[in-house]
Symmetry: C2
Subunit: 214 residues, 2 copies
């Protein structure tokens, strides 16, 4: 059981690269190939795959199709998972359009916004509801995942509502740390923080930590 946040992230990345490989007609792949494309070492790739129970042949490497199937089985839920998005501002709409052309297993099926003008509008094929309807809609559609793109000031209040409605995972774009009960997973996407990090390391202070491809 290879359950670490880092590993899961890499598996998701491998999957995308493998899909590309399949599209290119590639049948087999070596750990060092996949590693190069993913920015990881061959060793790490092998260990990640080993954790999944994947086996390769010393001469031909891993079978791309088999690998994909195994990763899908591991990462995806059996059924499609509906996702809610709260906050249909610029960022919210961008993310909505970004996700609507991919991810068959993760589909945004409900949007929420505090702006009465947006309520009942359909944005990118998704109906926008009032914040007050979060609990009802989330329960009706049995949604467990949410993307949060509201201003920092409103974030915690919305989160409490989402959690009360049964949400188990949140992708948080609001620049504010969220307090959630145990059992709810939060992944922070903090734009400001990330750009500051880039600025810091671009200055060359930190000895340029990894990512230096060939």
């Amino acid at each position: 059981m290879p359950t670490s946040e880092r590993t899961i992230g890499r598996l998701s990345l491998y999957r995308r690269l493998l899909k590309q490989a399949v599209a290119d007609g590639q049948e087999n792949v070596y750990s060092h190939e996949l590693g190069a494309r993913a920015g990881a070492t061959a060793c790490q790739v092998r260990r990640d795959l080993m954790g999944l129970g994947c086996a390769g042949s010393p001469s031909r490497g891993y079978k791309v199709r088999a690998l994909l199937e195994r990763i899908d089985l591991f990462l995806d839920a059996p059924d499609v998972e509906p996702v809610a998005i709260v906050g249909v501002g610029n960022l919210g709409r961008a993310i909505l359009s970004f996700f609507q052309r991919r991810r068959p297993k993760l589909q945004i099926t409900a949007a929420f916004d505090s702006d009465p003008w947006k309520v009942d509008r359909v944005v990118q094929g998704v109906r926008c509801h009032a914040l007050a309807d979060i609990e009802r809609v989330v329960r009706e559609q049995e949604i467990t995942l949410a993307v949060l793109t509201v201003p920092a000031g409103a974030a915690q209040e919305v989160v409490d509502t989402l959690v009360a409605a049964g949400i188990k995972g949140i992708l948080n774009f609001a620049p504010a740390p969220l307090r959630v009960p145990l059992g709810v997973f939060v992944e922070d996407m903090d734009l400001a923080m990330s750009l500051e990090k880039v600025a810091y390391f671009a200055r060359g202070r930190g000895g340029a930590p990894r990512k230096g491809g060939k």
Copy 2:
């Protein structure tokens, strides 16, 4: 010298929280307070601050103002750092508007897009240039940081241009691993990967890693 990617991220977060504290008129702060707000342990906060050379008093904790000053000095460059954004689609515009109302030290000053209709337009107060002008504009404005919001297919090509123009740090939203020479720092913001991660851990498989506030 506390130079680890994780630590830098936390310092950036502390800074934001401390600014809030100053705005609220708070003069002193204990490590456990800051830790609670940041989702970290008191211990970790103390170690992070220790690395910066900050000292607190056992009775009053740390002086908020002094802390802020010290973190600013450590994280920020002496002057304003101009930032370029390449790709003025939905996501690009959202990020543009997000950053334009904050970060005095990091300012987006140039935008680039392949769409001729957008070239020479002014978006969110920032002039949009053609991709062909990247090298010239980046050199003219001495830009070293870039935000990348182009489709995956165009990413590597744009990155090569940016690097050739002297860019040292990239915040990458394109769902593709970038190859860059040593000395160039890349931070990936992979929306699809992050949402998959959230979906996985929301299922409760990974024993709910951290983030469980009170």
